[in-house]
């Protein structure tokens, strides 16, 4: 799952995420000349001290009181802020200048009725910010479900702007901006007016940081992270402790994947521990890690100032839902609905959280409920559309996205997905007994036969393994471009994955979408189908680490060369303690400490599967899946199903892995201390690797370069012995093959190539070379296997199909011959008639005279005098039973 989806979720919550990692920085030493400046610089204690002093000097002046209260609010001391403000109004009952502020604080405390009354007193008292109070009243009405009246009220601000444009104060312009933002619900163009009003307000008074943060939030709401980032950077340069600015910055980071949001959320919460949206975001991040109980606790902290704060309640509801706390979930949802009777925010956010937790059916149900509550909720409709597509409901998904896009034409997810849906006309659907395979029309004849056969084979294999039979049809979508696949998966471009499984819908890159050697489309399909079974067996509750691990494990079981292989980096990072323990393995996928941790975690997780089956049998894996289906957490699955404490399992796995790969761990070492400056080395290429394996490999390569072939062979053999699974193009096998070729020892060279390609799933050229070498040596079975591997790497290579077809015919592998002849025909051959004839011949040899007749007639229709085809037609007809004309 892309982290971009998270950003959409974060936006839905209008808050960001947190993780307790970094320390908040103290603001740079700056001398504030007065309380207002101290507040602006984030020196809140100074601001309070100075404002109090100012108030003591001028007790009738409301300004220092407001500064005092704002400093308290900024640090989460809402009750004190309210009291300070009320004290002033009690002393000066005829001064209405603070009632709007009092209303705002009361709203922040969840006292909506009091807030509404305070706003009214500001309006009645003709306070300088009475226009702001009017917009606040309208916002409350909107949130309370009185949408029509609220919209009428917002609409009046257009008139205010038009009639008093030149005379509006900055806060009045901001009120207009807020009104326009709400009016954008009916007319998306008014978002632009909102931004213009904000711009004018900021131009009139650039010192108000809160206003600039609100503008940034609006930018983000409309998916404009670039301007949001610029705005927030400016704010944080003045006040690095601005809680909402830090929160918004975390959202920007999530949106644009600019880095970890954690430091910003952490700062936000350090400054204002009661900020509900920040707590909500922290909870959502914990949900991502499937740490639901901690997420619920974090969300509850967001309810301290306002017990019905929507963002925190939504996060709490999500955590409760995923913990199967039905009563708690219903109570939380009811509290949200009581606060926001007609809003779809909760359902939209829950839909997104469900989708992020691979519960796509639930996501559809939540989103539909949201759209039912608020038919104008573009976000609920967008989630409904995208998740309906994920569950295979194409028409329903398109309809929802169409509606969503009309309401919010700025939404890139809806726009991209609708654009993608338009391309579906270039695809065709091929049906098999248990699958619908959608593949680009021009490649359908080539790819579908492979995908059909593999998918059906995988179904039987995986059903037997996991004891679960997903209900057909399972939909497989093979995308012609990686961008299209990415949009299909996360609504945006830039996803790094090759395939994705949404349950009973699989989407993946076509082999046409990537360069040859970048991936194996057969193993990718098998991997994704593995998810179909593990997700299905657990009702979507399998944690990602186990689902990925089992899929990789099943790849290896399907074909020896398929599946993630161990790498030197794996052993080095594992030895350095830089890979998560099994009980925390989800972190390696969801919160990787360094980029390479993700692929390394795939392999690690696959080894967990291997160990469990080796020691306890496949039944143990099935039992684990059943445990997840019943709602157990990973800890509970270890304890209740495997009867082992998580820590003990971690220890047992570590011991098993180190035994299984004892010689590898001895041959590969991290080259330098793994900690630098008290922080973990980020990994990847930054972890130099040393040890006997690489030393032998380097020596062997150097000797080969010097022409000392025999010595090179000896050295490379040592390297191979130390790490026989390393079959990359720079590894011992490739170099040994090269060395043997230099010695003209074709048999030995072929053996190395064969061994290499039996491990490396992406080595197209090496498979072709191995096939040629083995053919030369008369090893037709070996050559056939190499060519069969090759077409799963590059199905567009005519030569591979041609050789495989000819070889398969020679060894009477008739099914392969037919498949390859079909492939050659699908590749739009120049000599189409010959291709048709050869296909007909293959069918005839396999005894399928009906197909043979069909194809030979197609050949003769174009070339009626083709004598070989004529002979075949006559032969076919001569074998036809009498009367069966």
């Amino acid at each position: 799952m892309s982290r971009r989806v998270l950003s959409a979720l974060a936006l839905a919550l209008t808050a960001a995420v947190a993780a307790p990692v970094a320390c908040a920085q103290e603001p740079a030493a700056r001398t504030a000349a007065n309380a207002q400046e101290a507040l602006r610089y984030g020196q809140y204690d100074d601001a309070i001290r100075m404002a109090k002093a100012d108030a003591a000097r001028e007790p009738a002046n409301s300004r220092p009181v407001r500064i005092h209260a704002d400093a308290l609010r900024s640090t989460g001391r809402y009750a004190e802020a309210e009291e300070v403000l009320l004290a002033f109004t009690r002393a000066y009952p005829n001064d209405a200048s603070l009632w709007n502020r009092i209303g705002e604080v009361q709203r922040e405390r969840g006292r909506i009725a009091d807030a509404a009354a305070s706003f009214q007193r500001a309006i009645a008292g003709k306070a300088p910010d009475s226009l702001a109070a009017q917009v606040n009243v309208a916002v409350l009405r909107f949130e309370q479900g009185d949408v029509d009246e609220a919209m009428k009220a917002f609409d009046r601000f257009i008139d205010v702007y038009n009639t008093r444009r030149g005379g509006l104060s900055p806060s009045e312009l901001e009120a207009v901006a807020i009104a326009c933002r709400y009016l954008g619900r009916d007319n998306p163009q008014l978002y632009k007016d909102a931004m213009r009003a904000f711009d004018e307000a900021i131009a009139a008074d650039s010192t108000d940081l809160d206003r600039r943060v609100r503008l940034a939030e609006l930018f983000l709401e409309k998916y404009n992270a670039t301007d949001a980032l610029e705005t927030l950077t400016g704010v944080l340069a003045v006040n690095p402790r601005h809680a909402r600015a830090n929160l918004a910055m975390a959202q920007v980071r999530l949106f644009d994947e600019l880095g970890s949001p954690a430091p910003f959320v952490q700062t936000s919460l350090e400054v204002n521990p009661a900020l509900p949206e920040a707590r909500a975001l922290a909870a959502v991040l914990l949900i991502d890690l499937e740490r639901y109980a901690e997420a619920a606790a974090e969300a509850r902290k967001g309810l301290t100032a306002d017990s019905s704060a929507p963002a925190a309640l939504i996060a709490l509801a999500a955590a409760q839902y995923l913990q199967h706390d039905s009563a708690g979930f219903r109570a939380s949802l009811a509290a949200i609905h009581a606060r926001q009777p007609k809003a779809a925010d909760a359902e939209a956010a829950l839909a997104n959280i469900a989708a992020r937790s691979r519960l796509y059916g639930e996501a559809v149900r939540f989103a539909q409920a949201g759209a039912d509550r608020d038919p104008k909720s573009a976000r609920a409709l967008s989630f409904l559309g995208i998740n309906a597509l994920r569950t295979g409901e194409i028409a329903r998904g398109r309809a929802a996205l169409d509606q969503s896009f009309k309401l919010d034409p700025y939404d890139p997810w809806s726009k991209n997905t609708l654009d993608l849906l338009d391309t579906f006309r270039d695809y065709e659907e091929v049906r098999t007994p248990r699958f619908i395979i959608m593949v680009e029309r021009k490649d359908a004849d080539l790819l579908a036969p492979y995908a059909e056969a593999l998918a059906e084979e995988a179904y039987d294999s995986l059903a037997a393994r996991f004891g679960h039979r997903p209900e057909p049809p399972i939909r497989i979508e093979i995308y012609r471009s990686h961008e299209d696949f990415s949009v299909r998966t996360v609504g945006l471009m830039g996803l790094g994955a090759l395939g994705v499984s949404f349950g009973r819908v699989v989407a993946m890159d076509s082999p046409a979408a990537r360069r040859v050697g970048e991936f194996n489309w057969g193993s990718t399909l098998w991997h994704e189908l593995g998810h179909v079974f593990t997700l299905g067996a657990t009702a979507g509750r399998v944690p990602r680490w186990l689902s990925e691990g089992l899929s990789v494990y099943e790849e290896r079981r399907a074909r020896p060369s398929w599946g993630e292989d161990p790498s030197p980096l794996f052993f080095a990072t594992y030895a350095a303690g830089q890979l998560p323990k099994v009980s925390r393995l989800n972190d390696g996928f969801m919160r990787p400490a360094f980029p390479a941790q993700v692929p390394l975690s795939y392999y690690l997780a696959s080894m967990v599967g291997e160990m469990i089956e080796t020691q306890r049998g496949i039944g143990a894996i099935r039992d684990m899946l059943d445990g997840y289906r019943r709602g157990l957490t990973t800890e509970q699955v270890f304890r209740d199903v495997l009867k082992v404490e998580p820590a003990a399992f971690d220890e047992a796995f570590d011991k098993w892995l180190r035994q299984r790969f004892a010689k590898h761990f001895a041959a590969i070492k991290p080259a330098m201390p793994v900690t630098l400056g008290g922080r973990r080395q980020p990994g990847g290429d930054a972890i130099p690797i040393t040890g006997p394996f690489l030393e032998s490999l380097d020596r062997g390569r150097a000797l080969l370069t010097e022409g000392k072939v025999d010595e090179a062979i000896e050295e490379l053999k040592k390297a191979k012995e130390m790490f026989p699974e390393y079959a990359q193009s720079d590894g011992p096998y490739a170099l040994l093959a090269q060395a043997y070729q230099m010695k003209n020892d074709k048999r030995a060279a072929a053996a190395e190539l064969q061994a290499m390609t039996a491990i490396n799933e992406e080595a197209f050229a090496e498979n072709m070379a191995a096939a040629a070498a083995m053919l030369e040596l008369g090893d037709r079975a070996g050559a056939l296997a190499a060519l069969d591997r090759a077409v799963w790497i590059n199905p567009f290579d005519r030569d591979a199909h041609l050789k495989l077809a000819a070889l398969a015919a020679q060894v009477s592998e008739r099914r392969i011959t037919i498949r390859e002849r079909r492939a050659l025909l699908a590749l739009d051959p120049t000599d189409r008639v010959e291709a048709l004839y050869q296909l007909a011949l293959a069918y005839a040899d396999a005894g399928d005279l009906v197909s043979a007749r069909r194809e030979v007639l197609r050949a003769l229709e174009q070339a009626p005098n083709y004598s070989k085809a004529q002979d075949l037609l006559l032969r076919i007809r001569s074998t036809r039973p009498p009367g069966n004309d």
């Binding site: 360069r515 567009f796 739009d828 051959p829 120049t830 000599d831 189409r832 008639v833 010959e834 007749r853 007639l857 003769l860 229709e861 174009q862 070339a863 009626p864 005098n865 083709y866 004598s867 085809a869 004529q870 002979d871 037609l873 006559l874 007809r877």
Partner: protein
């Protein structure tokens, strides 16, 4: 348009209404047109003349490549297609690579003289293939083929081709920037092929290699009649060029064109049914398959050939009805006719007719 009277180039007369569409497909029908089979090597069989020109190479690798292609085509023409050595002229940048095979240098004058010689000895109805392999250029209204010395332009060639007005001429400019030759040289009984669509496609071309391969390798004979027509060679080369660009992930910078209806506008997708492609579909380098004297005088052969002609006509009619008839009816009728054709062909082969 009129179908040219070019006995060696293809079939010439319409036998019935369908001939306009595919009379050319049945090679042996040439034997029927006079009412009786004609033995092979009879007098009046038109001859094929070839002029292969490799231009200024610029680099040794191009010189080697051009020469290899020219020699390859020359070899298959003289050995495989029985074109007399005397009718094949190969002009090159230098004669040194193979003085016995290279007739002279490919200068502007050398080319003109070679065409003059062909014009002098070619009989009406003879076929002439002129193939240019090399680099071209285009500036303003003038397109040129780069040769040693002064380049030769499209208008130069126009003047030369006018000397071959009674022959069927296939002019294949496989050089870069050759597209504008089509407009200049287009004419009656002429097939003009360019490797590029316009003079602006100036990168080195792949077309020549694949065009020669169409005759040298297997795979271009799309209708399996045993010969490769110029149309088939063009289609083969065009497709292989496209495939090579695709397989190497390059943007295609050459788009071959063919014109043979005389309108000066080339087409990328000519077909045997025209408007462009009809003449090319009947332009062959390989000789038509004929009958031995014994077979030609065998009345059973004549009857079988007549049957073959009738069945072929029926097939043509049926194919025209495809899409109108019910699919099942079409398939059944198709199988019936194709079976009869196959049986008839088998009977002919039994009588020693190699390729009916």
């Amino acid at each position: 348009m009129a179908v040219p009277e070019t006995p060696g180039v293809g079939v010439k007369r319409r036998g019935d209404a369908l001939w306009g569409y595919r009379a050319f497909a049945v090679l042996s029908l040439t034997l029927l047109l006079g009412g009786a089979p004609r033995p092979v090597n009879a007098q009046a069989v038109p001859r094929t003349h070839m002029l292969i020109v490799t231009g200024a190479s610029g680099e040794p690798r191009f010189a080697q490549q051009f020469h290899a292609l020219a020699m390859s085509l020359r070899a298959v023409a003289t050995s495989g297609f029985d074109i007399p050595d005397s009718l094949v002229t190969y002009l090159a940048e230098q004669t040194t690579p193979d003085p016995r095979s290279i007739s002279g240098r490919s200068t502007r004058e050398g080319i003109s003289q070679a065409i003059d010689r062909i014009a002098a000895r070619a009989a009406p109805g003879d076929a002439v293939l002129i193939l240019l392999i090399g680099h071209g250029s285009s500036e303003g209204d003038v397109s040129r083929f780069n040769v040693p010395g002064m380049d030769i332009s499209d208008t130069d060639f126009k003047a030369q081709l006018d000397k071959l007005s009674s022959q069927v001429v296939a002019f294949v400019n496989a050089a870069s920037a050759s597209g504008d030759f089509v407009k200049t040289l287009s004419g009656k009984n002429r097939v003009i092929v360019s490797a590029t669509k316009t003079g602006f496609e100036r990168n080195e071309t792949l077309f020549a290699g694949h065009f020669v391969s169409a005759y040298v390798k297997e795979g271009a004979d799309a209708d399996k009649d045993g010969r490769v027509s110029l149309l088939e060679a063009f289609a083969y080369a065009k497709r292989e060029v496209q495939r090579e660009y695709e397989s190497t992930n390059r943007l295609q910078t050459e788009h071959a064109m063919l014109d043979d209806d005389g309108d000066g506008a080339g087409r990328a997708d000519p077909g045997a049914r025209g408007p462009d492609g009809m003449v090319a579909s009947r332009f062959f380098l390989q000789p038509a398959v004929g009958l031995s004297s014994a077979a030609a005088s065998d009345p059973r052969v004549a009857e079988l050939l007549a049957t073959q002609s009738r069945l072929q006509s029926q097939l043509d009619s049926l194919r025209l009805a495809k899409g109108i008839m019910k699919e099942a009816d079409y398939e059944k009728a198709l199988e019936d006719i194709l079976t009869k054709i196959a049986e008839n062909a088998s009977a002919l082969r039994a009588l020693g007719v190699r390729k009916p």
